[in-house]
Symmetry: D2
Subunit: 147 residues, 4 copies
């Protein structure tokens, strides 16, 4: 993986719900993935500068790889940060982290592989130039492996 974290241009404060907290007294592991998922959805809307009709999505999640670094307790101010770190022809990679926005403590890190998808054919497909350009524009750098 990348040796240093990217600069995150997208951060979303998260609202904890009462039943996010499990019997161990901290946010249940499964809930982290709802947070990454929400951060990802809002990030894509910011990248595309528009609402996204998820029923017609041309990218889907292929792999999620998440490190659990520190528990999240009720009352903590947390946010999920999202960036694209690499773009290939048929996939691109997101990096996300959940942090305590007051202390900067990193609660978890998540790497997600998104793959192109042809929803009509139901098969894998290349990442469109539309996506590639929008992601690079948002991240303010060239992320294509073979541009």
């Amino acid at each position: 993986m990348e040796s240093t974290l990217p600069i995150f241009h997208h951060s979303l404060p998260l609202q904890l719900r009462f039943n996010d907290i499990d019997l161990l007294g901290h946010v249940n592991n499964s809930v982290y993935f709802s947070f990454y998922d929400l951060g990802k959805a809002r990030y894509f809307e910011a990248v595309k500068a528009q609402n996204i009709d998820w029923k017609k999505a041309d990218v889907v999640v292929a792999n999620v790889n998440a490190d659990f670094l520190s528990p999240i307790y009720s009352g903590e101010a947390i946010a999920v940060q999202t960036a694209t770190v690499e773009i290939g022809n048929r996939s691109f990679k997101l990096l996300q982290q959940i942090i305590n926005t007051e202390t900067g403590q990193v609660k978890g890190i998540c790497r997600t592989v998104m793959v192109g998808f042809d929803i009509t054919a139901g098969t894998a497909a290349p990442i469109s130039d539309d996506w590639k350009n929008a992601l690079c524009r948002f991240e303010e750098k060239e992320l294509r492996k073979n541009p």
Copy 2:
């Protein structure tokens, strides 16, 4: 409300998930409503003897009234039971309870008012004869207030 519980012709065993249990050590109150919701969906499929396309549903929930009687603990064998108890022209009433299937202890009771809905017009509508007949047939009794 009815003075006695009906005979329930529909019972659905429920699988608890790890994060259903909140920091108090028992099933979070909000989760009860997922259970009633699931029991209701399966009940309607049984009543209609077919899968239901919920996107074209012609009945919607108008009111839910739930008593919390006893906590549910991890490891308990529980089920949700569902019956229709009254059918009007524009609504019908469900009664549900969540029980421990080993002890018979009632964990919660829920009354739901379903109203007819015209999904094209987006407005309230009468309950169809199709629904009325299917519900009475399933419950094996006349439930229409004005049959």
Copy 3:
């Protein structure tokens, strides 16, 4: 029920999550109860002016009665408002509503009966004067039926 809604002194903006939206394209009915639950928890913290150790809670939910008035769509700005409307010796009543904060549209209304609870004995108990006073102070009026 009360003929007019109270003035709400407590309002909590709500963050929708991606998987709150069900296949019908709007917030699943079960999720409303997570919203009411979260609004209630924050309201009680505001009333008590402190964090609450829910494991030692001396009030518990006995009944929830919710009207579903209008669907909530992805992207709507919503909040849950909470007030206490009546205090008895062994219970008190909350009124909550979920609204679109931009249009004022009411999405749902929920009435909750909280009962006093002795967590050591595991039995019902009177509402403490501490709770009664804090609730009246927060609501800025006398809510006790028999003060």
Copy 4:
């Protein structure tokens, strides 16, 4: 990773809930992790042949790595299968898959790294012999890298 899937000695049928299905019409990605989590909890109880007090857990999740292979639709019969595939001194690795039990189709695969944890000190700790022995006994083979 291992070139072939292990024989799974533990399989747990899963009950879908109505609000597991998101607006795309299949089980939301985040819900997969609740399934893996539940499979893991039940697996550990089977391995230890007893209920586990999760508040005193001496192993915690460090990393989750999940492939999404195929969508899960409402009405499918699914189960989560769990096995331990490697045991080190300070961690062990689980492999899980979610399958359609009628067709055998694999919906997702998840690798989880569990690390030893000293809950009193709040620090990493070796995996106890108790865990190592119980895991090998359950899996009916030697899984320790340096036995």
